[in-house]
């Protein structure tokens, strides 16, 4: 497998969210706006790349039976690092993402890649894999966040699109549902249908 393929699979063919249905909790939980989705995606990418890197480095040193606990410790450490760093340097985003930052630790993608890829491949491939899967995840979150933001707030990355008519108080009349829980599920449901269609078409 070429490294390009290794990298790009995470975007469409094996996209964590749209195709593998992994890491759904943060996907739904934080994507009230494109920027939140992106932030979460990048934080996850960082953990993914770092844990892949470390796991592939130490894989031969770890006895099989304690493999999973060891991976969890490694991942949890990086998650905590992200937590601390975000708290220090991007506190506003950290507040927005809230609980879902520590929850990266139980994101199936991270442990899944460590177990399925990094523990079997060399360091370089593992990093590429981490980047690919992570950025694919970030892309999915950004798209979902974008869709929800456009429909729910009438903006994209905070930029007003002037899509919706204004109400009496001068505020745009948007479909608030989309920034709430039901809209998250519904938007993701239809996005998956769409991405599947595109994937199928491109496969032909």
């Amino acid at each position: 497998m070429s490294q390009w393929k290794n990298f790009s699979k995470g975007f469409f063919k094996e996209n964590a969210v749209f195709v593998l249905f992994l890491g759904l909790c943060p996907t739904l939980g934080v994507t009230t706006s494109a920027i939140n989705g992106m932030g979460m995606g990048l934080a996850t990418t960082f953990v993914l790349v770092m844990s892949n890197l470390v796991v592939s480095l130490v894989k031969s040193q770890i006895p099989d039976k304690v493999r999973i606990p060891s991976f969890i410790v490694i991942i949890a450490s990086f998650v905590t690092m992200v937590e601390l760093l975000m708290q220090a340097y991007v506190p506003a985003l950290f507040e927005q993402l809230g609980l879902f930052i520590p929850l990266i630790v139980v994101n199936c993608i991270v442990l899944g890649r460590a177990e399925a890829f990094a523990s079997k491949n060399n360091v370089f491939s593992s990093i590429i894999d981490g980047f690919g899967m992570g950025l694919g995840f970030a892309m999915a979150l950004t798209i979902l966040g974008g869709v929800r933001e456009i429909l729910g707030s009438g903006t994209i990355f905070g930029l007003n699109l002037h899509l919706f008519p204004l109400d009496a108080d001068g505020n745009p009349t948007t479909m608030i549902v989309f920034v709430l829980a039901p809209g998250a599920f519904i938007a993701l449901g239809y996005l998956i249908v769409l991405i599947n269609k595109i994937n199928k078409k491109s496969a032909k």
Partner: protein
């Protein structure tokens, strides 16, 4: 009264799955049959309550006492992982029937973010021990309720003609969305 508020809030108003987006993976993955969902709900309740108690004590008497609260994530996840193993072993010995019923779900729970999420939330909300337990139990019930209702809906989906593109996960998300929409009606109950 406070307990009642915690209970109603966790089960209906801020349902862990439908409003907080925790435990989505098992929600989507396991909930195709009512019976398996009930098993999963049982196993989650079990682990969630024990995990919340243990992490609560750890937080209060170890992490905060020694000023290393930043180690929260790493400790909690280890505790939960160990706990799941322990529960599995104990259950196997003490109640083989219960183990048979819940056994296959236990390994899945380690990566169920609902368990870790509830443990962290209980600490964040500054609940005392009793409140934390009530909180964990209610959330587990909320999780079970959502899971079982959802499984019922999905069993019915098996019997109708869903359009091809919508089959499987997309329709599950759509159902979840409409379920969440319906649950919005509980807003303001507490």
């Amino acid at each position: 009264m406070d307990y009642l508020i915690i209970i109603i809030s966790a089960i209906f108003v801020n349902n862990i799955v439908l409003a907080q987006f925790l435990g989505i993976c098992p929600f989507i993955g396991v909930s195709s049959k009512v019976e398996t969902s009930a098993g999963m709900a049982g196993a989650v309740t079990f682990v969630m309550v024990i995990a919340t108690i243990v992490t609560y004590l750890l937080q209060k008497y170890v992490l905060e006492a020694f000023g290393i609260a930043f180690m929260q994530t790493i400790t909690f996840i280890l505790v939960i992982a160990a706990l799941v193993q322990l529960v599995e072993i104990i259950l196997k010995k003490v109640s083989p029937t219960l183990y048979q019923a819940l056994g296959i779900f236990l390994p899945l729970i380690t990566t169920n973010c609902a368990v870790l999420g509830v443990a962290i939330l209980a600490v964040q909300k500054d609940y005392n021990l009793m409140e934390s337990v009530v909180f964990a139990v209610s959330n587990a019930i909320g999780f079970g309720l959502a899971l079982i209702v959802f499984a019922g809906l999905r069993e019915q989906m098996d019997l109708v003609n869903i359009p091809k593109g919508m089959k499987g996960v997309p329709i599950a998300f759509l159902v979840a969305g409409l379920l969440a929409l319906a649950f919005m009606g509980f807003a303001g109950l507490v």
